[in-house]
Symmetry: C2
Subunit: 168 residues, 2 copies
Amino acid sequence: MTTTKGITLVAEPGKYDLTMIREFDAPRELVFKAHVDATWLARWLSPGDYDMRIDKFDARSGGAYRYIHIGPEGEEYAFHGTFHEVSDPVRIIQTFEFEGLPETGHVCLDSISFEILANNRTRVTTHSVFQSVDDRDGMIQSGMERGVNDGYEKLDELLERELAKSPV
Amino acid sequence: MTTTKGITLVAEPGKYDLTMIREFDAPRELVFKAHVDATWLARWLSPGDYDMRIDKFDARSGGAYRYIHIGPEGEEYAFHGTFHEVSDPVRIIQTFEFEGLPETGHVCLDSISFEILANNRTRVTTHSVFQSVDDRDGMIQSGMERGVNDGYEKLDELLERELAKSPV
């Protein structure tokens, strides 16, 4: 089956939020697991040739997380937040903050939904709301879409390998 | 000293956020403590003649909370969220969800700042960002401002009693 990969990004001018939609060739349980299992997450959630180190990852409602992307030259980019809701296998609501900004306290609220599609496929929709239009536009301009796309391509590979081990 | 009590509410039409500003006749450390000490919080954070029961309250960065307002007829209204950041005594960033809505997952992100004013007074600014304009407007129409104002009047009394015990 050939499917169109790539993120659909919706960000209307002047608004506080953005939406990213991406489909995966794997059943929802697997795609959800890849978001809440720290070992799996570390295998895909980083841009390009960046490594990922997980400092803390307590993926349950009321839990918290922190992880670091490590670039080829050893440069580190850390992120942290809390899990407001983890509803297996349909939704995650979390806060998210990049620690490398000039000042702390710029936080966004992500709601990630996992939807069953035909043929054992899954649609992941991430709705992010920021504290200002500037915060949102800054995130977009930082190269977010490319970084997320890189990660999702690794996730495609991870899912393919896991499906090969135990086909649906 | 006579000061103007009452909340300044800023909510521009069509936006995702709102800001509430309120000043208190007490030093910042006390006002902050009233927001992070569960025993103190239970004494003021409820509207009118509602009681408050705290189910969980772990006021540290990465912690979570849940509390219930209990009305005169025993009716219960529960709220929960996570503490993304607790920076004593300057800022709290938290998620917030009312459990009584027809569907779950309508969450807002609050950033509460505590600012020193002259004469041992404190300004509390709460910036809340919602997942949609409808969510924000629904919160405003629910009587939020009156409920918050009721709570703040109880907080005035609590601070006055505490200051009488150990004056600045």
